[in-house]
Symmetry: C2
Subunit: 222 residues, 2 copies
């Protein structure tokens, strides 16, 4: 019985890891749609979001049935609850990739990004997708050290995000208010995506160590 239970927990972890992979791909494609003003790719991300929502529902239902049928305690209970929280964060990451894709679609065929901020978004895309892929590995390995190291990647995202603001706020900004508004919101979508990836990883630390490293909902209020 215990063995069957732990194999069920393993299935739940697999579902979460698969969700990480889905949201990493969504953000990778959304960033490409944004950088290349590619409508086909944007549409692909937009229509793919439903699958991420379904994956979250499936995770949550699986977690619920584990709780109802097995009534786990201690670490097992915390693992299931962490999975429920992680699934919520992952669905949110999918929504944020969706917002990026919708921004690309809204301005198509015009590019959303002025040339002088394209590099920031290429980098934000690269680092945030990497964060989601690392979170996938962390879920599979329960590697606490790797989870802690994600904070460094998140710091990179926060730095990029802050730099981006100095560019928009600079008197030299030539691209007008509507473009600044787009860039402001897009920057925030990437920053929130990274925060959620870190929160997923922190939940894994919590499961392994029984202690939560800091708040899981911190974000930069810029």
């Amino acid at each position: 019985m215990r063995e069957a239970y732990h194999s069920e927990l393993g299935v739940l972890a697999d579902q979460l890891a698969a969700m990480c992979s889905m949201v990493a791909e969504a953000m990778e494609l959304a960033t490409r749609a944004l950088l290349d003003a590619n409508l086909t790719i944007a549409e692909q991300v937009i229509s793919g979001d439903e699958k991420i929502d379904d994956a979250r529902s499936a995770c949550e239902e699986h977690a619920y049935s584990l709780l109802a049928l097995q009534a786990p305690v201690a670490t097992d209970l915390r693992t299931v609850l962490a999975a429920i929280h992680a699934a919520e964060s992952l669905e949110r990451m999918g929504d944020l990739a969706l917002h990026v894709a919708k921004a690309a679609r809204r301005r198509h065929p015009a590019p959303v990004l002025p040339d002088d901020v394209r590099g920031y978004f290429a980098e934000l895309g690269r680092v945030t997708v990497q964060l989601a892929r690392k979170a996938e590995v962390i879920i599979r390995t329960q590697d606490v050290e790797a989870a802690r190291a994600l904070e460094d990647d998140d710091d990179v995202v926060d730095d990029l995000h802050r730099h981006l603001f100095t560019v928009i706020m600079d008197k030299e900004w030539q691209h007008g208010v509507p473009s600044a508004v787009d860039v402001t919101l897009l920057g925030r979508f990437y920053e929130r995506y990274a925060d959620h990836a870190v929160s997923v990883a922190k939940r894994v630390v919590f499961v392994v160590t029984g202690r939560m490293p800091g708040s899981v909902s911190e974000d930069d209020d810029l």
Copy 2:
């Protein structure tokens, strides 16, 4: 034993209702700090956020101990899980009020808002605080119809948010890019706050009816 359990669930609901009241007050004060460029009130919201975080931890710990000690099933299980999700949303609402207060502090003694958008924020503040207060009543009464009606208030917030964007994006906007960036982010904070309030209420519907009315993490991607 069952009776003791239901009285514990009642305590959990009280904790959530108290959190609603805390985040309603935080947003009310943050909005006042924003509209009046009042540093004292902004600081009050900023230093008060820790209490909201603590209230969330207390809710979550209480919910965990209910799960571990009582191993609830069916509706009771869903109630406890809904409470865990609701506590997370409420902490997030506190963070969003905190962001509004920090924006007021960052620009002090200058006002953050140009005169032509002050009215929007007065109204956003009024409606979002009302949403949180209604969510409090809904948690206490488990009133499904009232929970559904919150969608209408959320529509009001979405409309205000969209109108705000047309004002910022208009060629007549005289206040420059930095001000547009501030207003963009502030608008989003209120819009997300309202979404979370609705999500709290939807969880209550779920507990009562066993069916979730739509996705709980939808937001406007403007």
